[in-house]
Each structure stands twice: as structure tokens, then as C-alpha cells.
Symmetry: C2
Subunit: 482 residues, 2 copies
């Protein structure tokens, strides 16, 4: 297979992996800067020194370009761009989505991509707008699938061709597309037509669309979220299992005088300070950048540094098992990202089954933390506990005699046997002073314990000022001591 | 006056200001790197290029140093350190707190600080440990106050002397200290003996101590949180009205192979990636730093870049009026910081009265946002609305006839007249899909409206699935329509 993907570490549905394209290997997650040969701001070589291993460029622009078409065909993309890493080419589908039409066919664009030496070729899929109705979306999806089959037929099973997943805003169509692309043996699967969602901050819809596609895509497939995006949303996308991002933002924002950060974007003109540790920001004042002759390039370098640092941050979080913390941090930077994050948390059930067993730590960050996969997993595992007939859950740690089994209690997880006090998550979790949300979640753990041990009778002691919550959740199944 | 402070912008109790020491001016908030002349890692000149305007060094170390004592007396501190910005000197109180004793008197250390040309001198106050009982704390506070009076007496009212606030863990003693230091006309007031709290992550206690001191300190005084700290806690401290920080962390951590970030610290040995945009991290891999001969210096440069970027981030947040967002972001990085943040939010009442009227925006970031000053202010302002006899709060925006006054509803703020739809906070606030916490807070706004308009009868429509919350909060004072 020309394109293969391997996951090395994982956290939630996110993974640190290796994408193999031909003889080249890149690490994921990765951000592929978009290169427009007509408008170079930062050279591919400079990007490589900053840690970039792969680029994306638009083959359609090359094919229509008087200046670059022949060069690309003769010397190849890598020589033209002076870059020996992985180069992915987009087909013209982007122009299709923006202008409504494009003067190239599926086979023509793939042929051209092959001939200029692209490492990953993208067919001419149809990016269906989120505004389109079901019938249109279904029809365009069928055309996309035909073009994917055609690509396999004409170029062979081993050609390094991407299998984009379309389906618009309809989760059932996204599931169908994911399944069909998998059945066709595509190992590199971009999720397309999401840029309009991200531009409108429709992150709740984005989560639904991505989760739908991931439900049927193979976990061995590398997933590229096409056109994503702003660095503040990478963590959320990675948590759902997206591996690659591409963005022209670093350059477009620079030209528009916009300054990227992981907590949002600013107009350079509005900045009194430069809230960033990068080389540009630690050696200039905001005024100095504004009046610098190479202002646009300085901004582009800053934007790129911030974006690549975020990729590094995500990879480290996956190694540590702290991706939930990072997603939680980033998703509070905009209320619509918070909506997307809360939508993701509703899907903990399906995310939990593939989450890793042990992590560096569990830090409680607010009541959203109660919906995390580690808690769902813990409360499911309670069924494995062997309990005697009379069980005491000593919530304040004060053990009493007269019980067959005594358990301790740690919100938001719930009851646990003392022997588990040093294993994950009990031993490596840190919580602030108890709050209503975590106590309620812990009480759900008591309920789960009761449900899975019908022969035991459970008493609970030491809840003190949290009695009302305990009663509300558990009064029908437990006995309260003092 | 030798030391003066002026606030230029403010947000919550935080301010961007100017600290004048003699003829020199520095911008605040500011981080003063601690310089140990025996162990230079990054030179003061290099720091100046990175944006540092002031340093702190320990006069006691200088006075005991064979190598530096005479140099400092002859040439002056600024020449010895090759730095023309503001230099503050610590007295030896730090050594006192660590070793229990110090071989210098209050007047000796102040004389020495004067003679070496320090810009801000610190008396020999007694940093009372948080473990000390009330009697000891009170006694040591009295000694500290005597030394402060002695300093004024001996060196004059215009000497650039700091007035440290002690009082241990006892908020009444901290309030007393704040008042006495203010009565003595100190304009530069460090809050001392908090390092043990921060080292133990006792952020809830830290908040209580700082708020207590700030209750009686003049708002015209510049407040230095002595020994603070880790960059993840600067925003919380600034929100409470701290203006200066000092830290040796950038160097100590570097020597111990520890890597600072605003979301916590890492051991360099544990890092697979370098999650940072700074010059060091964008030009090395983690392995390359580990094996670099100048590894400690590289780490120190990274640590300093991260710390100074955070100061810039705080200043920009104050300009924009988004300091709550930044404090919220940073305080979720550790569960004990979250405890501290929640403690601060309990004090919204006192913070609200000095908060600014209008901000760039209000982003809802989670249920903690319901306790923010802007909401308390808004709900207090409701008393100013002129209402007719029959009032309708149309929560879903559907206006009905037959009412003297119709108001709209936006959680977490509550009811508002259509004319205010474009003013702060209604017009510049963004919220995710409604959640229980914000709806409850909005209903408290309805209650506040009712309480302040006893002649009006209030009906509420359009709450739909939020009826239970509305009933729970307001059923005794409103009529529900459909």
C-alpha cells in the first residue's frame, strides 16, 4: 500500500502516529502549511527548520499557472518548492466549493498530480455545503464515490490516493461515506466540506459530522480534517481522531494584519502587547512590528510558530494522557467551541471503549470533567468488584466495624476499595474542594455499584453537607448511616 | 515621594500601571527576575532585550559576598550587574524565613541597600510562616511594623523603601497590616510570606490572604506579591490587584532540568516534544536540548520567554477587559488553582464595585462565569430600569401584546430592555447553548428585577424546557405564561 498509518500512542480517540507515504514518513498529528507558489512568505525550507514535515499545495493552481505548470511537470513539485518532505496536492475541489465550477476532470487532476510527483493525491470530490438539502447532498456524495472508484480503477490500488468523506451536514450520509471509503480500502481519508462550519463557529455541528465519519472509518485510516484550521480547535479535532490539519491561515492572517494565538485572533493594530513567547514577539514591541517593512513576514513567522507549538503541545498531551485537559483548555476560548466540547462529552460512551487504561494523571477542571471517559470507564469497572453482603461506603474516610466490605469514596469517580487507592484513576487524580457536580457524579457511581451487585446491601456514611445530593440520586437503593 | 504608582487601565482589581522609582519608570504588571550574581545564566542585558525593565537581587547575599561586596559599594549595583533599569533589593528576610536567622539588622541592611544604589529597598520584615499560631504571628507582625517605622524615621519619608505586609495566615492580621502600612504612607507594599502557600498549592488560602491585605491597602499603592511565582498563577494574582512578581524559578528550574509552561512544569527528561513557540523550542528537538552542552542556559531562556510572554498576555487582557477569561484559563491548569479561583469568585461582591464599566466582550467559559463581576453589576443595575405595571419577560424572544413593558432575556445576565441590546454586556456577550447554571443565574436576575420594582407584576414566557429552574428560583414572585 502506498499510504499506511500506524498509531503509536493514543488518548481518547486521538493518536500520535506515523504516516507513511511511499518511502517518506511523517509524524502525526501534523499541520500541513498551505503553500501558494505565487505568494511565498515563508519558504518550505524555513518551515522544515521549524519542524514542518509535510506541505499541501493546490494542484489546480499549478495546472492553471503559466509560470509553474511546465516547471512542475519537468522538474517535479519537490524541486520547484525546494522541499524534500511529503507534499500533498489538493485537486481543485476547493475551487469547486468556492466558485461552483472548475475546469478540470477527476482523471485529469489526478494525472497531473501524479505527473508532478505529488506524494498524496486527492481526487476531485464534491464538497457539499452545509446549506444543501438531503437530496442534493446524497446525489453529490454518490458522484464523489464514483470518482473515488474511478480513481482506484484507473490508477490502481497502490496509488497514493486520498479517499475523501463527504455527506454534508447529514450524519447518516457521513456514516455511509465513511463505510464506503473504508470498503474501497482507502487508508488516507480526509473529511471534507467542513470549512464553512468552522468559519461560522458551528463547532457543535462539526463534532457531530466528524464523530459520524469516524464511526464507520477504520481506525487504521489516517484522517485529515480538510481546511482545519485555527489552532484553538486542533485539540478538539484530535480528541475525535483527526490526525492531519492543513491551513493557509498563517499566511492569509499575516496579509490581513491578523495575529494568531491559541486563545483567539487579534488585529495587529489592536494589540498593545505581544502575548507570545516566539522569537518575533520576544524581540519586537507591537509598535515595532506594525511599522516594520517586513511586517507581513514577521506575522507569518509568528503565526506559524504558534501553530506548530500547538501541534507539539497536542503530541505531548497524547503521550501523557492529558488530551482531555488540553481540549478542555482550548474549548473554553470561544463559547461555540465550548458548545462543541459539550457535544463531544455527550459521546463519552462511544469514546470510552477505545480510550487507554492508564494515564499520567486526572486533573479535575470544572464540572465538564464529570463526563470524561475515565469516569465512565471506572464506573463500568465497578461491576468487577467482589462485595460481601453488607457494604459500607465511608465517604469521609471514617471506617466503621460491622460490615463485610468497606469502600472509600472519591468524587467524581465514586466508591472504591482501599486496595485501588494507588492505581489509576484514584491514585493519580487530583480534585479541588468538592462541588455539587462531582459529588452527584460520584453518587452515580454508588448507584452503578448497587445495580451491579444486587445481592449486596449498601450503606453510605460521612456525606455531611452533601446529603441532599446523595438522597436525590440514591435514596431508593442505599441506607444512610448518620 | 520616591516611589509612586499610577494605574492606566484596569480590569477586575488588576491594573496596567506605571511604577516610578526615582527617575526610572517601569510598566506593570511586571516580572522581576531574581539575579544571583554568583550564578549568572542569562545576563541582565539579555533580559532587557527580552522586555525586562526591572530586576530583584538579594542585598544580603551581596553584603556577605567576598567577591561582590566591595565592588557593589564602590561601583554600585547597576554597574556590577551592567543593568540600567530598576533594581530592587531584598533585605535578608528571605534567608530569615529559610534559615531562621540572619546576621544583619534592619538598619544595617537598609544602609547597605542605599549605599549600593538600589532603586527600591526592602526592610528586614519577618515573614511569618503559615504554620505559626496567632500569638506568634501577631508578635512578629508588631516587630515588622516597628522596623518599618524605624526605617521611615532613620531614612526619611522620601526614601524608596517598601512597606511589606505580613500577618501570616490570619486575614484579620493581614487587614491590620495593610491598614498600618497605608497609615505610614508606604506607596510600595509587598505581600510577604506567601511562598510556603504557593509551594504547597494552597491557592485558596493565598486568595484569602491577598484579598485581606488588599481590603485595607490603598489602591494607589503598588503591590508586589513576594516570591510569586509560577506563571500559571500570575493572572489570578493580578485579578486581585497584585502588580509585581519576582521569581528565581526561571533559573532554578533550568538547573534542575525543569521546563516551565503556563499549564504546568515538566521534567525535560520526560518530554517527547517541546510544547512552546519560543526561539529555543522552535529550533531544537527535546533530545537536542537534553544533549546540548548549554542545556541549562537554553532551558533558562525558554523559561524566561514563557514567563515574559505571560506578563504580556496579562497586560493585553487588562487592556481588552478579558482578565476574567485569562484567570479562568490559567486556574483550570491545576485543581488547587481552581479552588483558588472559586474562592475569588465568592468575593465578586467586593470586586464588582471597582470593576470597569465596559469591556471588549464577555465570553461564557463554563458555570464559574455565572459568578463574574459583570453579571453582579448588571443585576444591580436592573434597579435603574423604569418599568410599567405589567411586565413581560419574553425568554424566547417572542413578544406578546398587552403588557406595559416587554423585556428580553439573556442568561446568565437575565432580563433586559431591547434598547440595551447593543450595550455592554448584552451586546458584546457570547454564550454557548443554554445550560442549567446560566439559566439559574438569569432567573436570579428576574428575582432581582422583581425585588427592585415592587409596584410591577412580572410575567415570564418562553422558558420551555427550563421551566423547572424558573419555578425553583422565581415561582413566588412571577406569573408564568404558557
Amino acid at each position: 500500500m502506498a499510504i499506511a498509518f500506524e498509531s503509536l500512542y493514543s488518548d481518547i480517540a486521538g493518536r500520535n502516529g506515523k504516516l507513511v507515504a511511499g518511502k517518506k514518513i511523517i509524524r502525526t498529528p501534523a499541520l500541513l502549511p498551505v503553500i501558494n507558489p505565487h505568494l511565498p512568505l515563508v519558504t518550505p525550507k524555513e518551515m522544515q527548520q521549524m519542524g514542518v514535515e509535510a506541505l499541501i499545495t493546490n494542484a489546480y493552481i499549478f495546472s492553471q499557472s503559466q509560470q509553474y505548470r511546465e516547471q512542475a511537470l519537468e522538474k517535479g513539485l519537490h524541486k520547484v518548492l525546494d522541499f524534500d518532505g511529503v507534499i500533498m496536492t489538493d485537486s481543485g475541489s476547493f475551487q469547486l466549493s468556492v466558485y461552483g465550477e472548475v475546469a478540470i476532470t477527476n482523471i485529469e487532476t489526478l494525472t497531473f498530480q501524479r505527473d508532478i510527483g505529488s506524494d498524496i493525491w486527492v481526487p476531485l470530490d464534491i464538497p457539499t455545503s452545509p446549506q444543501s438539502d438531503y437530496t442534493t447532498t446524497e446525489r453529490e456524495l454518490a458522484i464523489t464515490m464514483e470518482r473515488l472508484k474511478e480513481a482506484k480503477r484507473v490508477f490502481g490500488a497502490d496509488a497514493p490516493i486520498a479517499g475523501p468523506v463527504q455527506g454534508g451536514i447529514y450524519t447518516d450520509l457521513r456514516e455511509r461515506a465513511g463505510k464506503e471509503v473504508t470498503d474501497l480500502n482507502f487508508s488516507f481519508c480526509p473529511i471534507g466540506a467542513v470549512v464553512p462550519l468552522m468559519e461560522s463557529y458551528r463547532y457543535k455541528d462539526l463534532v457531530q459530522v466528524v464523530l459520524a465519519a469516524k464511526r464507520t472509518l477504520s481506525r487504521a485510516a489516517c484522517v485529515h480534517l480538510f481546511g482545519a484550521g485555527h489552532p484553538s480547535m486542533f485539540a478538539l479535532a484530535t480528541a475525535m481522531g483527526c490526525d492531519l490539519f492543513d491551513s493557509a491561515a498563517y499566511a492569509l492572517y499575516a496579509k490581513e494584519g491578523r495575529y494568531l494565538t491559541t486563545h483567539g485572533s487579534f488585529k495587529l493594530d489592536e494589540l498593545a502587547e505581544l502575548p507570545c513567547a516566539c522569537a518575533v514577539c520576544r524581540s519586537h514591541t507591537a509598535d515595532e512590528i506594525r511599522t516594520a517593512p517586513d511586517r507581513v513576514r514577521l506575522l507569518a513567522l509568528h503565526n506559524l510558530a504558534v501553530t506548530l507549538a500547538e501541534i507539539a503541545r497536542i503530541r505531548q498531551a497524547i503521550v501523557d494522557g492529558t488530551l482531555w485537559e488540553l481540549a478542555d483548555e482550548r474549548c473554553r476560548t470561544h463559547p461555540q467551541l465550548l458548545s462543541g466540547y459539550r457535544e463531544l462529552l455527550k459521546n463519552t460512551g462511544s469514546l470510552e471503549s477505545h480510550d487507554r487504561v492508564s494515564k499520567r494523571r486526572f486533573f479535575y477542571r470544572g464540572n465538564e470533567s464529570c463526563a470524561r471517559t475515565e469516569i465512565a470507564r471506572f464506573q463500568q469497572m465497578l461491576v468487577r468488584l467482589c462485595l460481601g453482603k453488607d457494604v459500607l461506603v465511608a465517604c469521609d474516610g471514617r471506617i466503621r466495624d460491622g460490615y463485610d466490605t468497606v469502600l472509600l469514596f472519591k468524587p467524581p469517580f465514586g466508591p472504591y476499595p482501599p486496595e485501588l487507592c494507588e492505581t489509576f484513576p484514584i491514585g493519580q487524580s487530583e480534585i479541588p474542594d468538592w462541588d455539587d457536580a462531582m459529588v452527584l457524579q460520584g453518587c452515580k457511581g454508588i448507584r452503578a455499584l448497587s445495580a451491579s451487585h444486587p445481592k449486596s446491601s449498601i450503606s453510605v456514611s460521612g456525606m455531611h453537607q452533601w446529603m441532599a445530593i446523595l438522597h436525590g440520586e440514591c435514596s431508593d437503593i442505599i441506607e444512610v448511616i448518620d
